[in-house]
Symmetry: C2
Amino acid sequence: MMKLKNDISDKAVGRLSLYRRLLQELLENGRSQVFSHELAIRAGCTPAQVRRDIMNLEVLGSPAKGYEIQKLMAGISSVLDSDAPQKVGLAGVGNLGRAILAYFSGRTPQFVITAAFDSDPTKVNRVIHGCRCYPVDELVSVVREENIQVGIVAVPAAEAQQVVDEFCRGGVLGLMNFAPVRVRVPVGVYVENLDVMAALERVAFFARRLSAVRGE
Amino acid sequence: MMKLKNDISDKAVGRLSLYRRLLQELLENGRSQVFSHELAIRAGCTPAQVRRDIMNLEVLGSPAKGYEIQKLMAGISSVLDSDAPQKVGLAGVGNLGRAILAYFSGRTPQFVITAAFDSDPTKVNRVIHGCRCYPVDELVSVVREENIQVGIVAVPAAEAQQVVDEFCRGGVLGLMNFAPVRVRVPVGVYVENLDVMAALERVAFFARRLSAVRGE
DNA sequence: TTCACGCTGTGAATTGTTTCACATAGTGTA
DNA sequence: TACACTATGTGAAACAATTCACAGCGTGAA
């Protein structure tokens, strides 16, 4: 069985995304080259980690000059981005949904939130942060017609599974789930859970443990 | 050097938080016992993983009856929760900040968002989702006076480091960072980054890769 | 009372990720 | 040209997380 070309781990992909933003910032500050240890400081990891991640790209650095920022960014983009901007659908236009719309609105060339969905009739057919809001009943058909490939789930826990099922029926390939439950999906669909509740409990737990260490 | 008692990994803590919510749901459905494979299905992991995680608690199951849900929940709580409800401060009352306030407002006995902070004068001194909003200038003093131990950073990237510094000066032990940058903190402060941008790029990347596999 | 079943608890094996450490190479200096 | 310096690229080691696999036990059936 042939090894897949883009054989990069979940975590490595996340770091590449971060590096790209850090590189953009350096570029705006007039830099054109960068060393692995400089990126490492900014990304909060080790220089070795940065070099390993860069091994996944087809970009070489020079021992004396480091990496060319432009080339690094191009390398990251060729791995992370698809050829055309990716269409994203958002289910749930509550507080969180609106925050997500505002966050991605116009700021990301590689993603466009093409359609939002909500069951609240007062939201339906309005345009929120530049995005048309459809009734959830039309989710499957809109996702299919617009060829939306990624779905964001920002509905309450109780409705999450149903919305996920509909996204899948519409044919999405990936889902980002903000609801504090695990959802079932057919094989061939990738799910990323962003469990804010669990994250806060982690922070509280490790904060408490650090303070115990500090206090001893 | 004595081994710390609560020696649990980051990921395991996150799963315990999830298990607790799943158990609560089971309890509400009238169940009183549960097997590892039932939890595993709901949590999206393997039965062995569930049993390993439960090893971190001081709870034993019975081969014939599984685990007592009440005892499991108590075990999880004794690890995750502190004795008193934990005070949390929130910096940034924009779209995201309000979503976070709404999400935690009154629903979590173990956390209370005690104070919010913003630089916008039209938000300051108002009460939003039951939480008083202070000017950022007062962050350090309010955090110190209220003995807030966990900070949530929901401000734009450019202001994140400054807000983090102030939280640290106020004496927080843990931070949850939603800004799409890595922040520097003194040793003894735990930081959890929730990088939504990186998460969406991960979803898009793996979705694309899955579709390639599917298409071949 | 005895037996068969199926789940728990866990040592060992496996898999995945990060760090180490060093051979190699590009640059500036003399 | 030759040398010293420093950072890259990467095999190998270390470390961390997950899964396997099975001994042992508690229960219900006969």
